[in-house]
């Protein structure tokens, strides 16, 4: 519980940065409540004091007092609300800014561990929930408490014995708050979750309707939809049933209290112990007790939601990057481009190994082609060079199929047993397993962790098959890395990337055309070439190209290919590609499966090895031959004529 209190009080610390506003609106809310609490007393006095005088002026005076109190209540209430609105908005502004800064500083593993959609929800929906709490939460809880205590004080002032009896209402109010928090709301949340499930089943079936039909699975899917729909009906109905049961219960309890006041007050009245005015005041005051019960219940609900939302949002601020700049960075302007992977292991949080003992060196200017499927680790491997991730820093040991990290105390736990490292090895059942020291990724012989992140990344260019462009002008996008560069530079990069012609001839505003929703829409091939131009301007020594899939026509493909070739000149290039020609030309082919290098070498070497790559090349070669044979015969036929 101690920790869970944390998030709302943390939110409060943001509100406290605007102390005058924060306390101002709270005080305003309290003052308003006090005026509200005084109104029943005026009614008491009208009946008991003013009317018996028989003087119309006195009655008017008292009635006007009532009106004045109501007006003051309204004004202070408005003040409280408006103050709360401003405070809430200021806090949200601050918080969003802080979250944004923090998002910009995060390293990439953060983005890989958190899905885009979820991150977005944390910074939008969750922040909105917190704003609700800032606007309503404090006031509602404070007013609820103030009105609860205040009403009892006023009641006590009018009649202590009756008030004693009415204290019995407090447990009811608490029970009401409890039941809503523990019984009613959870059912609503679970119904909402069920709605999410139903929606995703529906969405999936609609998008995949053709597949559903062609596998004659309509009935099966209909049943699945029916089942989810029915569950939603049941849960939602149950939630609403609980709500209609408990919600009207509160006014009823207070209505019963009114019935009691009629009885008790009537007895007292008959015996001369109570006046009309006091009786009327009581009827009004009991009505005023409903509000604290509602407000506090509501406040508790909001508190719970804000707490949960806070946990999700502050997670972003609290997440500590593992990647830090070195204390004494190695200064560098331009790299030569030598890249070395030395026994690289990589795992997410130490348990699932994505890369296992990857070991090879690339000379400046060489081309490396990477092969492998999803989960082979080729993308992760590429992300190690610009330090979007860092290699594992603990030594590892491989035993049978498993890989284990050596702990700091030089021990390792395998199948529940603790083993100690001795002479650089682990001995199990008489067999020694060598311990591998932590790996390195080096550029120009220096571990990448010794460079400033900025220097390192500035020297590494990445071009994706589905590149991300910003909603800015084409010029801004190409000059992304060097915003100050001249227009000539942008233009010549665009020319080299084979996109200049398109920009000038097909876009009304040429280089000043805006990309995105409100601007021009670009095809995949055009985006890719702009990304190539962007990389040319950045002029990195090391290139990482992801060119695995692209649905483009033959001509575009040729343009991209040409642009890529120009880009690759004089740079160390890592490429994930579908082009066999590129692979054959590569200096090194590295094939990865489940994080491990399974085959490595030049095209000729791998063919000679006769492994999996040789099989791939053979299949593709057969197709090529099958297609080419008739060409030869037809040409042969032509020459013989």
């Amino acid at each position: 519980m101690g920790l869970r209190m944390g998030y709302v009080s943390r939110l409060t610390s943001y509100a406290l940065k605007h102390k005058p506003l924060f306390f101002g609106f709270l005080i305003s809310a309290i003052i308003g409540t006090i005026f509200n609490l005084l109104t029943p007393l005026v009614i008491v006095d009208i009946i008991d004091v003013a009317i018996p005088t028989g003087d119309y002026n006195v009655v008017i005076q008292f009635a006007l007092t009532y009106l004045a109190l109501t007006l003051l209540y309204a004004l202070f209430d408005i003040g409280g609300r408006y103050g709360a609105a401003i405070t809430a908005q200021k806090v949200i502004y601050d918080l969003r800014g802080e979250i944004y800064d923090s998002l910009m500083e995060k390293d990439l593993s953060f983005y890989d561990q958190n899905e885009t959609g979820q991150l977005l929800a944390r910074v939008t929906t969750d922040v909105t929930t917190m704003r609700e709490f800032l606007f309503w939460g404090y006031r509602v809880i404070l007013i609820g408490l103030a009105q609860l205590i205040g009403t009892y004080v006023v009641m006590w002032w009018l009649s202590p014995p009756l008030t004693m009896y009415l204290l019995a209402l407090i447990p009811f109010a608490i029970a009401f708050i409890y039941v809503f928090a523990k019984k009613v709301r959870p059912v609503f949340y679970s119904a909402r979750e069920q709605y999410g499930t139903l929606s995703s089943v529906l969405a999936e079936n609609i998008v995949g309707m053709k597949v559903v039909k062609s596998y004659a699975a309509s009935e099966r899917e209909f049943e699945r939809v029916e089942k989810e729909n029915r569950r939603f009906l049941e849960e939602r109905t149950e939630a609403l049933r609980l709500l209609s049961f408990y919600r009207p219960l509160l006014p009823t309890v207070f209505g019963i209290a009114t019935g009691f006041i009629i009885y008790y007050g009537g007895l007292q009245f008959i015996m001369g112990g109570m006046s009309y005015g006091v009786f009327t005041g009581y009827i009004t005051l009991v009505g005023m007790l409903i509000l604290p019960a509602r407000f506090l219940s509501w406040g508790v609900g909001m508190y719970q939601r804000a707490d949960a939302a806070g946990e999700r949002t502050f997670y972003i601020l609290d997440h500590r990057d593992e990647l830090l700049n070195p204390e004494n960075p190695v200064e560098v302007d331009k790299f030569d481009g030598e890249v070395e992977f030395e026994h690289v292991y990589f795992s997410y949080r130490g348990d699932k190994f994505i890369l296992k003992d990857v070991h090879f060196t690339v000379q400046p200017g060489q081309i490396v082609a990477l092969l492998g499927g999803t989960g082979s680790g080729k993308t992760t491997l590429m992300n190690l060079i610009p330090r979007f991730y860092d290699v594992d820093t603990r030594p590892t040991v491989e035993i049978e199929d498993g890989i284990y990290h050596i702990q700091e105390d030089n021990t390792v736990e395998i199948d529940g047993e603790i083993h100690k490292v001795q002479h650089g090895a682990i001995v199990i059942e008489g067999k020694a397993y060598e311990v591998q020291p932590p790996g390195h990724v080096r550029v120009d012989g220096e571990d990448v962790r010794n460079y400033l992140l900025e220097d390192l990344r500035r020297n590494i260019g990445m071009v994706h098959q589905d590149p991300f462009l910003f909603s800015a002008t084409i010029r801004d996008n190409i000059a992304f890395a060097k915003p100050q560069c001249s227009f000539e530079e942008v233009e010549s990069a665009a020319k080299a990337a084979n996109i200049h012609e398109f920009i000038v001839e097909h876009l009304d505003e040429g280089y000043n055309s805006t990309i995105g929703e409100r601007g021009v829409t670009l095809s995949g091939g055009q985006k890719q070439r702009i990304a190539i131009a962007r990389a040319l301007v950045a002029d990195p020594k090391i290139l990482i190209l992801d060119d695995s899939t692209s649905s483009v026509d033959a001509k575009t493909e040729m343009l991209i290919q040409q642009a890529l070739e120009r880009l690759m000149v004089g740079r160390t290039t890592f490429i994930i590609t579908h082009r066999l020609s590129t692979i054959r030309n590569a200096d090194l082919i590295v094939m990865l499966e489940k994080g491990r290098i399974v085959e490595m070498g030049s095209h000729e070497e791998l063919i000679a090895q006769g492994g999996y790559y040789a099989g791939i090349a053979k299949t593709l070669k057969e197709m090529e031959l099958a297609a080419d044979t008739p060409l030869i015969t037809s040409e042969g036929g032509a020459t013989s004529e």
């Binding site: 209909f222 260019g461 197709m623």
Partner: protein, 602 residues
């Protein structure tokens, strides 16, 4: 760029295909399906109104009669009556709110079920003209918009009007002047509420704009994080975000004004009503024209106007939204499937796979003929590669075979049976369909392979995968065959998705296969498995392939070259190359250059 944002329809937009009364009638008819419940609700609502009106009268009689007479038994009776009324009020509320919710939720369930069934029945042309995002929005958001009104909003709004009228009439029996004072605030209350609601709606519109730029900026920043980082551009982005964040702050502060003033103002108007009652009541009391009980009763009535007024004014907004949703839902429900089974349609039996297109003429829209007098005879077990430019009619041919559209002239027969004589369902179950974008369902790789034959054993799955040469690749996935593919298979690469869809088709083992080959090139690690897999998949069954891969084309038994909906050439690769006709030029201009990039060293 902020893809995926603003995909929703404007909730207030209406096309007015149906009149308001039609929409209302139709929505109510869903509620009327539960006549028993409806009757219960009506009775309970009436009872509830009675109690609301009667309670203050009991209070009055206690004050005016029992207090003065000193009749203790009478006092106990009146107090008891008051308590009984409160409990009755609780039970009626519970009963009527629950019944309304039950009725409404059942109606929502029913509408959703009907809509889904309709979506299953609708033909391909419906999906052609509406994006799937919009269709999904019909069955989720739009139905939700109707939900509030159906499960209580409609009935209780009407009930509240009766409450106002009932009180309005009742109070005139007690005191004319105080009744006037009490009623006088109702129009003021109504106008003020309407004014503020309008203000708040306007404010909401402007905040919706600013918040959507904030969201769009955040979405872009998060999805573009990698690029921003790799070019070290964080600072500029921070400045850009600050602009939109500040704009949102300002528009919300504006909106805060109306929002803050609304409820306190409304409550103050209520206070004004009580002020009048106290004032007039005080005067009347001094003159001996009224009683204390009456004043107390009027004060109670005066405060019971709030809820009805708030609900009634909100009714307008929720009706607008519900009508907009209902209209779009009903439009889909009223759509006629363009293709329906014949009344005497029979089940398509097992087929050998002899397909004949006999003098087929077809157009999507009248006057624009796509296929004209199209003839094609495909022998059982034959593989046909359809090639041609975009728009030549390749997709149309396979769509027609599946009867996604009906032809205007001629006939399509499988094993001599006209496809219009059998049920669509049985036709689809005989034809395997492998789409360009391999669509996978949430679940594991294994679940997806098993989709067409849920009873298949694990061994059969492994065997099928082995046969198409995908086993090594699929086993190489994180969790092998147990890997969760994610929404629409998003966690797999395109090539892997295709391999799964091949295995799925192979396991289903249809005698006729239609395959729309993906145009995109795939990394060669997966590519070679796909080429091998394709061969296995096509073997021994009648197949029509919309082919892009050189390997597929070369391996086909017969290549059919389409141009403007006509067959211009047929033959094997070799034959057609020698002809030096349309195929030859297609090959030189498109097929070979594409293939060359992936295969031939330059």
């Amino acid at each position: 760029m902020s893809r995926g944002i603003n995909l929703q329809d404007n909730p207030e937009e209406r096309s007015y295909v149906y009149s308001d009364s039609t929409l209302l009638n139709r929505m109510v008819s869903y509620l009327f399906a539960y006549k028993g419940l409806f009757a219960v609700v009506c009775i309970l609502v009436a009872l509830g109104i009675g109690i609301t009106v009667y309670s203050p009268i009991v209070l009055k009689s206690a004050i005016d009669d029992e207090f003065l007479s000193g009749n203790i038994d009478g006092l106990i009776f009146t107090a008891g009556l008051y308590v009984v009324l409160q409990i009755a009020s609780w039970l009626t509320s519970y009963g009527n709110e629950y019944s309304m919710a039950l009725m409404g939720q059942k109606a929502v369930y029913q509408i959703r079920q009907e809509l889904y069934e309709q979506l299953q029945d609708l033909s391909q042309d419906f999906y052609d003209k509406s994006s799937s995002g919009r269709v999904i929005s019909r069955i989720t958001n739009d139905i939700d918009r109707m939900s509030e009104l159906l499960s209580g909003g409609l009935i209780s709004s009407f009930a509240q009007i009766f409450v106002v009228f009932a009180i309005g009439v009742a109070i005139f029996f007690f005191d004319f002047y105080m009744a006037i004072a009490t009623i006088a605030i109702v129009p003021v209350l109504l106008l003020t509420t309407i004014y503020f609601r309008k203000k708040m709606r306007e404010a909401y519109r402007s905040t919706r704009k600013t918040i959507s730029s904030v969201t769009a900026n955040l979405a872009e920043s998060i999805s573009g994080a990698k690029v921003t980082k790799s070019f070290a551009r964080e600072q500029i982005n921070i400045e850009r975000f600050d602009e939109v964040n500040r704009a949102d702050y300002e528009s919300n502060i504006d909106a805060g004004k109306a929002q803050s003033a609304f409820f306190p103002t409304v409550r103050f108007i209520g206070g004004l009503g009580i002020f009048f009652i106290l004032w007039i009541g005080g005067f009347l009391l001094i003159q001996g024209l009224t009683t204390i009980g009456t004043i107390v009763m009027f004060m109670q009535y005066s405060s019971s106007f709030f809820r009805p007024i708030l609900i009634i004014t909100n009714f307008y907004t929720s009706v607008q939204s519900a009508f907009a949703g209902a209209e779009r839902v009903f439009l889909v429900l009223d759509e006629e499937p363009s293709i329906e089974d014949k009344e005497d349609a029979f089940e398509m039996p097992e087929v050998e796979g002899h397909i004949i297109f006999n003098h087929v003429t077809f157009s999507y829209v009248e006057g624009k003929v796509i296929l004209e007098d199209f003839n094609l005879d495909i022998q059982p077990g034959e593989t046909i590669a359809l090639v041609g430019d975009t728009g030549a009619g390749k997709t149309t041919v396979v769509s027609l075979l599946n009867r996604f559209y009906d032809i205007q002239e001629g006939a399509i027969r499988i094993d001599g049976i006209d496809i219009r004589d059998v049920t669509q369902k049985s036709l689809h179950s005989r034809i395997g369909l492998v789409l360009q974008d391999a669509f996978l369902f949430m679940g594991t790789v294994k679940d997806n392979i098993r989709y067409g034959r849920p009873e298949a054993s694990d061994e059969e799955i492994y065997e099928a995968t082995e046969l198409i040469g995908a086993r090594r690749i699929l086993e190489g996935l994180d969790e092998g065959f147990e890997t969760e593919v994610g929404e629409r298979g998003g966690r797999l690469s395109e090539g892997e998705r295709q391999l799964v869809s091949f295995a799925r088709a192979l396991l289903a083992d249809p005698s006729v296969l239609v395959l729309d080959e993906a145009t995109s090139s795939i990394d060669i690690y997966t590519e070679h498995a796909i080429q091998k897999g394709m061969k296995t998949l096509l073997k021994g069954r009648t197949s029509i392939v919309i082919a892009h891969r050189l390997s597929t084309i070369v391996n086909a038994d017969r290549i059919v070259v389409l141009e403007d909906g006509k067959i211009v050439e047929t033959g094997t690769h070799r034959e057609l190359m020698e002809k030096k006709g349309k195929y030859y030029s297609l090959y030189e201009l498109q097929i070979r250059p594409r293939a060359q990039h992936s295969m031939i060293t330059n």
